[in-house]
Symmetry: C2
């Protein structure tokens, strides 16, 4: 933590450092990932990139994301049903809340979560290298919509 650069600059620096080319398509993807707080999916990124570069293919989006994953510059939130989501702002594991109605995904700061990996290590003997913590539910907005449509 405490890196003074913006996430976009950090990503670009990592690409240069590893001698990967910075193409217009890649730059567009990096910008979206570094600016968005909403954990966009591949399709959302695709549509947004196409506004500026209409010939861009889905394969290129996938390849760029895959590259960023290898560089450790994006966190992939994979779901068994597909439709993976991406976080370019905090590219390290952290808890999320997922709205099962509108598919919104928010970051979560959980008090006293840090010690958990250690507790798991101590209890199981596993060397823990990663974790995934998701809470699923209905967000305030969707609860409100539901209330309006159910009660007259």
């Amino acid at each position: 933590m405490g890196d003074p650069r913006t996430r976009l600059e950090a990503m670009l620096a990592r690409l240069r450092e590893r001698k990967f080319r910075i193409t217009p398509q890649r730059l567009a993807v990096l910008k979206i990932l570094s600016e968005s707080r909403g954990h966009p999916g591949v399709e959302a990124i695709y549509r947004q990139v196409q506004r500026d570069f209409p010939t861009t293919s889905l394969a290129t989006i996938y390849k760029t994301i895959s590259l960023l994953k290898e560089l450790g510059e994006v966190l992939e939130l994979g779901f068994p049903e597909g439709g993976n989501r991406y976080d370019g702002n905090r590219p390290y594991p952290h808890p999320h809340v997922v709205c099962i109605r509108c598919r919104k995904i928010m970051d979560l700061d959980l008090a006293g979560f840090e010690g958990l990996s250690r507790e798991v290590s101590a209890k199981t003997g596993f060397r823990i290298v990663n974790h995934r913590v998701d809470f699923f539910g209905i967000c305030p907005e969707c609860q409100e919509k539901n209330r309006k449509s159910v009660l007259p």
Copy 2:
């Protein structure tokens, strides 16, 4: 909690109660899910059922598991890479440790985990209905294997 019946009996009772037929194939899947503590995958269940009923198809395994999911009698641990795993003993969300080397999955009893859903609700306003908590790492056995093969 405190149900005196075995898991197998509970599953069978649920099927009867909802007027679903108890076929030999279904019984075989139920037995495997209720007896195994190892979170078997579809392929593992398939191979085991085929020992007794060689004509059984993968589709039937999927359909049976899907039925048990609807009845709330099995917990599905889906993974983005596929190869979902199933828990017939504790068919409600709970934390797991996953060995990324041998794919072993173990249940995890985490002190003071119960309060978390409430904390998330309070912080985000979400109505939480489900959660998924996995820790990934190397199990003691795989650490040992690795040590042997790396050091002479």
